[in-house]
């Protein structure tokens, strides 16, 4: 199983490889896109320059640096695009090809079909935005040109096993292993991501050590991603009778998404021939990316080196490693990617 780590600056490449990354991915928001769309909607589902490259020269340098260590680099182009954006998207992808990057991570079926038409030669990975919940979907995207399928975050280990059994021999499968367990199905969520007020972006637009930060937005009232907003709720029965009121809750249950983790499932994933493990958080600081990569590397190494460990012992070792790495007293399970590892799966 390959560890796929995120980066957003060329200086991050070598430290991440040293920390244990087998593959790398990043995004780029060229000025041509920014000039037209600002962060009105996203090119690759991560806003601003804190999480993205802006220059193709820097991207090329990063790719060269990774290739010197024989590590492939994949570029996120996982937005959902409208027809008017396609000429610019095509130009951006041409520049990505020239950068030497090994492939694209996409979400839009229109782009998948277009890449084939344009004669794109790199690898195409269908991202979680492709909503792959079953083996037929994995095979469908393979027929259309994808060589790797990134499975939806909300699948259980048992459901992933079903997909792997029927498709892993024909197409590479990738699963999420760390960070950002969205409360909604990524590819079906249509909440506007727009412009969050994140310090990394603001810092990118302003000089250091300034107490006042300025920036421009199409949406100065922006309050955050829809999934992270609090709502007052009223609960009704289906005859319209009001049963209760709840003040300020998120629409759906959400744990600490930035610490969400799935390493306990590695024991099972290894048997399923899962090809790659994704660590999310392109916009995180380097120290956080390094810690995450080292953590997953240690987890995979435990699996490789201690082959005699039982599944139960492996899971215990992973829970200890998680607490040790992130300074928790206990693994709460609240932000667990694959809780079915611990409990019997149910549902009528």
């Amino acid at each position: 199983m390959k560890i796929l780590s995120a980066f957003s600056k060329k200086d991050e490449v070598l430290p991440l490889i040293d920390a244990g990354a087998d593959e790398l991915y990043c995004g780029i928001v060229p000025y041509a896109w920014e000039a037209k769309y600002s962060v009105f909607d996203t090119l690759n589902r991560r806003e601003g320059y804190g999480a993205n490259f802006s220059s193709f020269n820097d991207l090329s340098a990063a790719v060269r640096s990774a290739h010197n260590r024989e590590v492939p680099v994949f570029i996120t182009m996982n937005g959902l695009y409208t027809p008017g954006q396609y000429p610019l998207i095509r130009r951006i992808i041409h520049s990505i090809e020239l950068s030497g990057a090994d492939g694209l991570i996409i979400a839009d079926i229109g782009l998948l079909l277009s890449l084939r038409k344009w004669g794109f030669r790199g690898q195409v990975h269908m991202g979680t935005g492709g909503t792959t919940f079953n083996s037929q979907t994995a095979l469908f995207y393979k027929q259309l040109g994808a060589c790797r399928i990134i499975l939806d975050r909300q699948l259980t280990v048992g459901e992933i096993k079903d997909i792997a059994r029927r498709s892993a021999a024909k197409v590479d499968l990738e699963v999420f292993i760390l960070n950002t367990l969205c409360s909604n199905v990524d590819g079906f969520c249509t909440f506007y991501h727009g412009l969050p007020v994140a310090s990394s972006q603001v810092n990118a637009l302003n000089r250091k050590n300034m107490k006042v930060r300025f920036f421009k937005s199409y949406d100065p009232d922006y309050q955050g991603h829809g999934c992270s907003l609090n709502f007052s709720k009223e609960v009704f029965d289906l005859n319209g009778k009001k049963l209760k009121s709840v003040a300020l809750k998120k629409a759906f249950l959400q744990g600490d998404i930035h610490k969400s983790c799935g390493v306990c499932a590695l024991f099972d994933f290894n048997k399923m021939k899962i090809k790659a493990l994704k660590i999310v958080e392109r916009g995180a600081p380097l120290e956080s990316k390094l810690r995450d990569t080292r953590f997953v590397r240690q987890a995979v190494d435990v699996l490789k080196k201690k082959r005699s460990l039982s599944r139960g012992d492996f899971i215990s070792a992973m829970r200890s490693l998680y607490c040790q790495t992130y300074g928790f007293k206990a693994c709460s399970g609240f932000s667990c990617y694959y809780p079915s590892v611990f409990a019997k799966e149910g549902g009528k």
């Binding site: 909607d41 079903d162 506007y192 006042v212 009232d221 049963l243």
Partner: protein
């Protein structure tokens, strides 16, 4: 002519079917645990035969288990009612239909037409904010200047992926000549050549987002691990919620899905210009 369909998720919904509808949508788009049983499907079809209604089976996104449950319905449907429409919200199901159920007629469901549905968008693009905002976060002060949305982008948030010719060609290869869209609060903009693809418009509920981490019982305190591994209590059959936030219109949550409501329907002229020749009326939140 604009066809009028009514969308119900279970047999209890048949009480909403009145004169004036010529098609019944039956099933659900958001949860494989709510796929109708074969007996329910047969009853719905018997009702349609008796009342001279056309029929469309609505299907959700599915795991392999869900796919196997749908296969049982399709095995029966393909023999009993060849040519029946199936609204598809999962490319795996589309793949299967194309390989195994060639006499079933797939329709591209609204989960796959990729509209931009956040209810805040309508205000954002219609009111063109002029103000600047100022706030403090930690020790820093933030000043945000509004930036006008360029005229050329005004249609951007109203589109659907079916505007793209390469997608329409792909749909033809998969025998799809109809796609489903929501009646967005900000309006819709479809650029489809005449007779290239037929479009259905859902009214009045549009979906915003859906989850499989379903904290489905709103009467209980939320629990760790949520519904993914605990037994589903089918609370979506008992409760619905209204959600309020000052930056959005009222939202409606039922089970694992969040909806907006838009009671304004475009004029007949606009519908026809957009290639819309079917209205899908949802008497209740479709879950």
């Amino acid at each position: 002519m604009i066809e009028k369909a009514i969308f119900i998720t279970g047999l209890k919904g048949l009480k909403y079917v009145t004169r004036g509808f010529n098609r019944l949508y039956f099933g659900n788009e958001f949860c494989e645990k709510r796929i109708p049983k074969l007996e329910e499907l047969k009853k719905a079809l018997r009702y349609c035969r008796k009342h001279k209604l056309l029929f469309s089976l609505v299907t959700p996104y599915v795991t392999d288990k869900g796919l196997s449950r749908l296969s049982k319905l399709l095995d029966w449907l393909v023999n009993a009612r060849p040519g029946t429409e199936v609204i598809v919200n999962d490319y795996g199901l589309l793949n299967l239909i194309n390989k195994k159920y060639i006499l079933i007629k797939p329709v591209l469901g609204r989960l796959l037409t990729k509209q931009k549905r956040d209810p805040r968008i309508a205000d954002l693009i219609n009111t063109q904010p002029e103000k600047h905002t100022f706030f403090k976060k930690g020790n820093e002060y933030y000043i945000v200047f509004s930036k006008k949305i360029p005229q050329e982008l005004s249609g951007y948030f109203r589109e659907a992926n079916i505007n793209l010719p390469v997608i329409r060609s792909f749909l033809k290869k998969y025998r799809i000549d109809r796609a489903e869209v929501d009646n967005l609060l900000q309006g819709i903009k479809l650029d489809i050549p005449e007779n290239d693809l037929f479009v259905s418009l859902y009214f009045p509920y549009g979906y915003i987002t859906t989850t499989r981490l379903c904290s489905a019982n709103p009467m209980r305190k939320e629990e760790k691990f949520a519904c993914r591994i605990s037994s589903c209590e089918r609370s979506c059959l008992r409760y619905m919620e209204k959600l309020k936030n000052k930056y959005m219109p009222v939202l409606y949550k039922k089970g694992n899905t969040l909806f907006f409501k838009n009671t304004r329907i475009p004029s007949r002229k606009k519908l026809i210009a957009a290639g819309i020749n079917r209205i899908v009326y949802q008497p209740k939140i479709p879950l």
